[in-house]
Symmetry: C2
Subunit: 186 residues, 2 copies
């Protein structure tokens, strides 16, 4: 749980996941890719022939959650790679300079006490499986790569979660967000 | 203040800083280098001919400090590169899996309420200038690269700070620490 998991998302013309929609929510867009491959490690664009883009990040430690929240999340959350999870979403995100110039206590207050990030998300677990990859200190174009897996029949349930999060105060600090809809290649 | 600053420390047989001592405080050692070059960006070992090692990190945002602590630090701290600062210390550090598996509230409590990391350090500013580079999510061998600059006459004052920090509860979670003593090449 405490070791980092380096990960790369490769957008190109083949992969395990087919892109059904790419939507720029806010900020600069990302070139279109037909497929996404999820790979362990930090791949460079040079290693990946004909990739439209390579987004790299690492699963590391929780940045805002308290012990109580971590235990609640651990008790409810589902693993990635469930057979029934035929849909995924890759949502790369940047927060703005106002967010990053705030100290920890103020970011935490907005994240949870004002926006209820964990509280809002909790009822959507374990139906939605999720993993967060950090990328900011790597100097990557996005601060976070968020990855979600669910079955097709729960798509509207997932959209409901996104709508709630995007209406929160925390989302006023989002400067770039790309919403990439994916279906598992059978 | 909110933009990240990617940085590399290159250990080799030439550079702006001459190594006067390399001491492994805990954990695996690092190969000896006679000089250290401080460079902007994330250099790869392939780009740096004849380097013994390249340690990369990024100055990012504060992880534990509250608004009050950040304001106190900003009011007291000195910039890097002062003419009189002819000594430096590069101290790469790893924390253990027990540390990283703790949620934010518990890490904060140990960092400040129990160990007084900021409170202990405050009287040593601005005599000691410091900058912290994060490297954990990059998958680098160290979690942090800490850099200090001071004048030769303040060396024992700096040693006093190190002694206090190394006696704190926080330091019980340090699994690797290399202390690299440096003098500016005139």
């Amino acid at each position: 749980m405490s070791a980092i998991i380096p990960n790369s998302f490769v957008g190109g013309d083949k992969g395990q996941w087919r892109v059904t929609k790419m939507h720029t929510v806010v900020g600069d867009s990302l070139p279109y890719a037909s497929y996404v491959t999820v790979a362990e490690g930090h791949l460079s664009k040079e290693n990946t022939t004909e990739a439209a883009w390579v987004l790299r990040g690492s699963k590391t430690h929780a940045r805002y959650s308290t012990r109580v929240e971590v235990e609640q999340l651990n008790a409810r959350q589902a693993p990635l790679g469930r057979v029934e999870a035929d849909c995924a979403r890759l949502i790369p995100i940047c927060k703005n300079s106002e967010w990053w110039s705030m100290p920890q206590d103020e970011r935490r207050k907005i994240f949870e006490e004002e926006s209820g990030h964990t509280a809002i998300s909790m009822p959507y677990l374990p139906t939605i499986a999720r993993r967060l990859f950090h990328a900011r200190e790597m100097g990557e174009p996005f601060d976070f790569l968020t990855w979600f897996e669910y079955s097709k029949e729960n798509e509207s349930f997932f959209e409901e979660l996104l709508l709630k999060l995007r209406s929160s105060r925390e989302w006023q600090f989002i400067s770039r967000e790309i919403d990439i809809h994916l279906e598992k290649v059978s």
